[in-house]
Amino acid sequence: MARVSVDISRRGGDSTFGGAQSCPACKQLLSSEQLEANLRVCPECGNHFRVGARERVAQLVDSGTWGEIAGNLRSADPLEFFDLRPYPERIEEAEYETGLAEAMITGTCRIHKMDVVLAVMDFSFLGGSMGSVVGEKFWRAVETAIDTHFPLVAICASGGARMQEGILSLLQMAKTTCAVELLGGVPVPFVTVLTHPTTGGVMASFATLADVIIAEPGALLCFSGPRVIEQTIKEKLPDDFGRAESNLDHGQVDMIISRLELKDRLVQILGMLEGGVACALEPLWEEEESRPGRRGTLAQALDRIKAFANPSRRSS
């Protein structure tokens, strides 16, 4: 499970420091400002650097619309876990270094004026590992989505389960899955964006249970990380193992979307799914049982669909 040790150095390294750095893919020297302005996508070669959770929110969300959910949750230390260092110390350090309280932040927001519940993971917080707080935050995000009927978007980045919470971290896979099932019963649209890297327990629970699964280019997406597999088969894996492109070929994700297009595309996809929900909630026949829904959103949904500025078109 906990694949905190996934090798991410090849993909971009730590992107939160200031100053210039060279793109690991094309070696181009890039200033921090340049990178940030381009959503941390290399302007030369399109390599996607990692993005922190707060920065991701800033990239996606209409300014001033973010309302954090469950921001006051903090990890406890149920196992009194101590390896080379005590778990609380690791947490403290992660808080100090990332400015985050946990590996996931959740909130309501608007994206291109569309109401959305958003959950964003941050790999730099203990490898984006999923412990009790991540599980509970995801659950509350789902609850909010069910209450408001806002669609849920989860931006994933995780090395897997958080070993330091032992079995309780494993059980977050069950917990988040139950949440997805509840969400599907409404139904409220659920879309995940899998970013580099998403592996282990997150990949094997809510990340792959979405209605539509989007991957970022080049992202490593797998259950067992390359190192674990290399140890098993005693062979070096090819570079494209588990990458987004390979996942697309193998039918595991719906599409790969460049971060530069993500915001527009997300709204299109959610609008499409909403369009179905909205129309289905305006029945032409008499209802036999009352159904919790939100009448009157049809027009809103239709407006969104009509408003497609840049429809995606592919030819043969």
């Binding site: 209605d211 070929d249 595991q252 499409m272 799914l273 129309c279 909630l281 026949w285 429809p311």
Partner: protein, 310 residues
């Protein structure tokens, strides 16, 4: 003469009596008598139109009919089959799930899309998308254009038969309205897998058949050269099929065929889809399902107690 032939066939095979040549001779004359060369040509023209390399394909209709389309890929098990495309489309101010065979226009695309012959992954992707549509109350529109499911060893091993049967079951099960349109070649079970719909429509110059004329001729006439005759005999044109009650409607094509004017063809399809959905959405989902079952239940012609029933 036909009677004579039947009698000859019934004769016990006696040693030294060689009836085979005799039978073959009479058979051949019967075929010739039976042949209507004019009809033959007319039917074969339709077959060629249905397969015309410039005919609009699924993605062309999607491009022309919908202001927005988001392709969804993969079966979540093994792969993504480019011989079947599908996704969410913006349609008349709402969402629709569009799924169809895609042959590919140029040589590269044709190879990549396997000439529109799906493997099990394609049918599993279709099922996934249909179930997604059902969850969100999104109507399903399928376009059919395939020579048939791909006959390959690996495709068989991954369960081609079960992939088709479960695609059929998935369509039987849907609560949302479903409209299927044969836009080109409706070949065998690989086509039907996407055509168990509330409304099954055909374009005027499309064909829809249990077997390709070539294979049919090879099996029944022992001569692939008799494909023209087989095509005529199989009754695979839109006018034949509407007469047989096998499809619910035929859409006229622009003069000379859909390949002459893609835009006009798409306009016709769009109107027909709108009409069909308006009709279907006025029906309660449960009733719509029942009507779907009853429609396919009625498919077939047989004799019962001496009476022929349709």
């Amino acid at each position: 003469m036909r009677k004579r032939l039947t009698e000859l066939r019934r004769l016990p095979t006696l040693p030294g009596v060689h009836l085979k040549d005799e039978i073959a001779k009479i058979s051949h004359r019967l075929i010739e008598l039976n042949r209507n060369r004019q009809l033959d040509r007319a039917v074969w023209d339709k077959v060629e139109l249905a397969r015309h390399p410039k005919r609009p394909y699924t993605l062309d209709y999607i491009h022309l009919m919908f202001p927005g389309f988001i392709e969804l890929r993969g079966d979540r098990c093994f792969g993504d089959d480019p011989a079947i495309v599908g996704g969410l489309a913006a349609y008349m101010g709402r969402t629709i799930m569009v799924i169809g065979h895609q042959k590919g226009r140029d040589l590269g695309a044709r190879t990549r899309r396997n000439f529109g012959m799906p493997r099990p992954e394609g049918y599993r992707k279709a099922q996934r998308l249909m179930n997604l549509a059902d969850k969100f109350g999104i109507p399903v529109f399928t376009m059919i254009d395939t020579p048939g499911a791909y006959p390959g060893v690996a495709a068989e091993e991954r369960g081609q038969a079960g992939a088709i049967s479960r695609s059929l079951l998935c369509m039987a099960r849907l609560n949302v309205p479903t409209v299927a349109l044969v836009i080109g070649e409706g070949g065998s079970g690989g086509a039907l897998a996407l055509a168990l719909a509330d409304r099954v429509l055909m374009l005027e110059n499309s064909i829809y058949s249990v077997i390709s004329p070539e294979s049919c001729a090879a099996i029944l006439w022992k001569d692939a050269g008799e494909a023209h005759l087989a095509a005529q005999t199989l009754k695979l044109t839109s006018s034949n099929l509407i007469e047989l009650g096998a499809v619910d409607g035929v859409l006229p094509e622009p003069r000379g065929g859909a390949h002459r004017d893609h835009e006009a063809a798409a306009e016709i399809v769009k109107d027909a889809l709108e009409d069909s959905l308006r009709e279907l959405e006025a029906i309660h989902p449960r009733v719509r399902r029942q009507e779907r079952f009853q429609k396919f239940r009625r498919m077939g012609v047989w004799k019962e107690n001496g009476m022929t029933l349709f």
